[in-house]
């Protein structure tokens, strides 16, 4: 079964607004990563957060991790048209030897 599931499946917002997407997972993790996938392209790593971290920033990205709720959120501030893409979380579950991806949130930024 999937470890990570993103919510919502799709999100459309106006350029300049903030976008928030969530990832929930089932079992304890060591790390959680977020990736972006532009249409027809491969995934690009955005940020990694460790299980003992609660928040990380990278430019306009802010990731939070709540291990008690087994969830993470990715916030993109001041969205731009170029942020239109699918966003995936990937978890490294304790005792598992592979990275498991969710099905992604498709984000559309309306100019």
């Amino acid at each position: 079964s999937q470890q990570g599931e993103e919510d919502p499946q799709a999100l459309s917002i106006q350029e300049g607004e903030n976008a928030t997407m969530n990832c929930s997972y089932k079992t304890s993790i060591n790390n959680l990563q977020w990736y972006r996938q532009n249409s027809g392209r491969g995934l690009v790593h955005l940020i990694l957060i460790r299980s003992n971290e609660r928040e990380k920033h990278s430019g306009r990205l802010r990731v939070t991790l709540d291990t008690s709720k087994k969830s993470s959120s990715l916030l993109i501030t001041a969205s731009r048209a170029a942020d239109t893409a699918s966003y995936f979380c990937a978890t490294d579950a304790v005792g598992n030897e592979k990275l498991t991806f969710g099905t992604g949130t498709r984000l559309t930024i309306i100019p």
């Binding site: 491969g42 460790r50 699918s86 099905t103």
Partner: protein, 114 residues
């Protein structure tokens, strides 16, 4: 220069055929992967190799055979293609294969089996 490159980008073929997808990385990474992304965008690992040695071999039909001639290359050969094999296949690499490393992906090969 593209860090992880895979060819071809599109592959359209008939059921029953045999096809290969090639992947090369110029990052000097030790570990390479094959992932399959289905029509619902679900991305699932198929294989991983570290320095030419098979590390992960998920429950994949034995019609799929990876080959790593050196640590910079990981090719995927598929025999007797079936309709259900239609998907996008991604090659990826990471420095040493630890799960806290970021993955670098190729741009994908869209396989359509008719």
């Amino acid at each position: 220069d593209t860090a992880v490159s895979q060819t071809p980008k599109y592959l359209v073929t008939q059921m029953g055929n045999d096809k290969s997808i090639k992947c090369e990385q110029n990052l000097g990474h030790d570990t390479m992967y094959w992932y399959k992304q289905d029509s619902k965008k679900f991305l699932k690992i198929m294989f991983s190799y570290n320095n030419k040695e098979l590390i992960i071999n998920e429950t994949v039909p034995n019609r799929f055979s990876p080959k790593s001639p050196d640590k910079a290359h990981l090719n995927l050969h598929i025999n007797s293609l079936e309709l259900g094999d239609s998907a996008v296949y991604f090659c990826a690499s990471s420095q040493e294969g630890f799960l806290n490393e970021k993955l670098f992906f190729g741009s994908g090969t869209q396989l359509s089996v008719l």
